[in-house]
Symmetry: C2
Subunit: 339 residues, 2 copies
């Protein structure tokens, strides 16, 4: 789809069938192997499961140091521009960066967030960066996406910083928060005195809120929004020894405040590691994903043979045929088992 963005990305059938060889190739930085490995870990095809398990076993045993950064923001908040600018800053510090996207709008279309060739042109040409469009997680109903496994594959390939990006429209932020060590919310001043991209549920998760487009005519508005936001955050009591959400104004376009953002990020990671919250969050994420995968596997056994529109139809039918929702659920389960 996007050869200029990601030269090694292939959708061809798997070429390597030995988990050890694939693992070594990925570790050596072979981009074709990296692309194949990602396709593999995202696959729910029965034929892939043994290779997938063996390969993930090797990756998970490696446990490289890494920083996983979640970034969310409404469309137009300037996420691509920020990732270009911030990504270059991180790479200039000597790191290697992978950028993944979670697309909340669909589990069927591939790359609708990052598929646009005009996005992140410089970063995608950088040999120390790897940009990966969203991909579907099979027919699981969109819970898992296996993004957690894709992160591990990227870390195996030596990318020590991973950005997981999503458009802020709902559930996907929680998903990103469950995948990353630090959560950055990108907001922009609106036409009035409100901030676009601040959803109340999301503020709770944000460790850092960056108000973008603090440039030109917008500068005063961004500063004012920052003060208002700090006041609003002050309304919420903070648990003792807890990190207070930091609010920054930046301009991704004019490359302003990027150093402060990086410094704040490092400060958070340091805080999080010294308080033990870093390891605690990652351990917790293991449990969260164990549950997700367990029920995805279960769900896949039950729903693997029915497509979404058929399932919706069946749900409507059982709701129509059974006055109580509980009866409808019993009926639905019974019918699904017969498929």
């Amino acid at each position: 789809m996007t050869d200029s963005i990601n030269p090694g990305y292939v959708y061809e059938p798997l070429q390597v069938n030995d988990p050890e060889i694939l693992f070594e190739q990925v570790r050596e930085g072979n981009r074709v192997a990296l692309a194949q490995a990602i396709t593999l870990v995202e696959s729910m095809a029965p034929a892939h499961q043994q290779l997938k398990s063996g390969f993930l076993h090797k990756c998970a045993s490696l446990k490289p140091q890494s920083v996983r950064i979640g970034i969310t923001g409404v469309p137009g908040a300037g996420k691509s521009t920020l990732i270009e600018t911030f990504g270059k800053f991180i790479i200039d510090k000597g790191h290697r960066l992978a950028v993944l996207a979670i697309d909340p709008s669909s589990t069927k279309t591939k790359g609708s967030i990052l598929g646009d060739k005009t996005r992140m042109q410089h970063l995608s040409a950088n040999p120390h960066a790897f940009i990966r469009p969203t991909a579907s997680g099979g027919n699981l109903g969109g819970t898992a996406h296996f993004t957690r496994e894709v992160i591990m594959v990227c870390e195996t390939a030596g990318f020590d910083h991973v950005i997981v990006e999503t458009v802020g429209v709902g559930q996907s932020e929680t998903l990103v928060n469950d995948l990353t060590d630090v959560f950055i919310l990108l907001a922009v001043p609106g036409t009035g005195d409100e901030l676009q991209g601040i959803k109340r549920g999301i503020m709770e998760m944000a460790n850092i809120i960056a108000i973008n487009k603090a440039d030109g005519d917008n500068l005063a508005k961004a500063k004012q929004a920052s003060v208002q936001l700090k006041n609003a955050l002050h309304l919420y009591p903070l648990a003792k020894h807890d990190w207070a959400t930091q609010v920054l104004t930046i301009s991704a376009l004019e490359n302003k405040g990027i150093d402060a953002l990086h410094e704040t990020l490092n400060r958070f990671i340091h805080f999080s590691k010294t308080t033990g919250q870093f390891d605690h969050k990652r351990n917790n994420q293991e449990k969260i994903w164990l549950d997700k995968y367990l029920f995805d596997l279960m769900r896949n056994e039950l729903l693997g043979n029915i497509n979404n529109s058929k399932l919706d139809e069946l749900k409507e039918t059982v709701l129509k045929n059974n006055p109580s929702v509980y009866e409808a659920a019993v009926d639905l389960l019974r019918q699904l088992k017969k498929i």
Copy 2:
């Protein structure tokens, strides 16, 4: 446990085994039948399922008019006092009121929120009120609770107003929001200029925010908090034709602002019905609960024979034995199927 609170509440084995007879008894206002019906719909025991389905079938077919009110707030916000005062106000208007509680802390203990005999003394003695402590939803892992079915049973018994109460500590608010037509958040001014009981994720759901304890020395602080909160809410852009979250100051203790709260509640219900949002939300809730019950039934088949501590042990074992979480999930599913 709490005979003085709820005289008709029994934990004895079911006495009526015919769904039609049970339904008629509940409709006639028989409190022993009501209590039995609630025990029945909360049961996951295989022996109860046929009676349960038949009874729910009758209840769901009735479709009485009702208003389902969700109330949340931190411990000490004054929920009991509000429900006493507000409940009496509603009953004085000619309505009948049921009060249910969802306890987020445990699915095992019964009545830890409403079990205290000193709570809602007047309301619990009122023949037009019915107060029901939290009960567990079997061994389902705490997702469902069957509170939705308990609401239906209460409505069948002629309670046209149902309050579902929870302590605001996390997931339970979403659960309450998925059960009710209107969501009231009860907050109190803190020691500083912050508001206690305002969690960011919860504000999003609140149709009405009542700042309680606007009395005595607290009055000025409550008023000030109200202004600050209105300003903070103003930061969030509102969708066109959408309800703007209303902020009120009340004193449940001194019975101040209760009429305004009732008027705002009625205004919201009217708004919600005329815009079609009322029916839309209820239809949506049916779909939400169909999914919940489907996966609860599935989960019950898989986890019904293992207790929580055994399950936690097994999870730790599979995480220890498998470097990757995905492998661990495959392993866990395999082992659970053998139990």
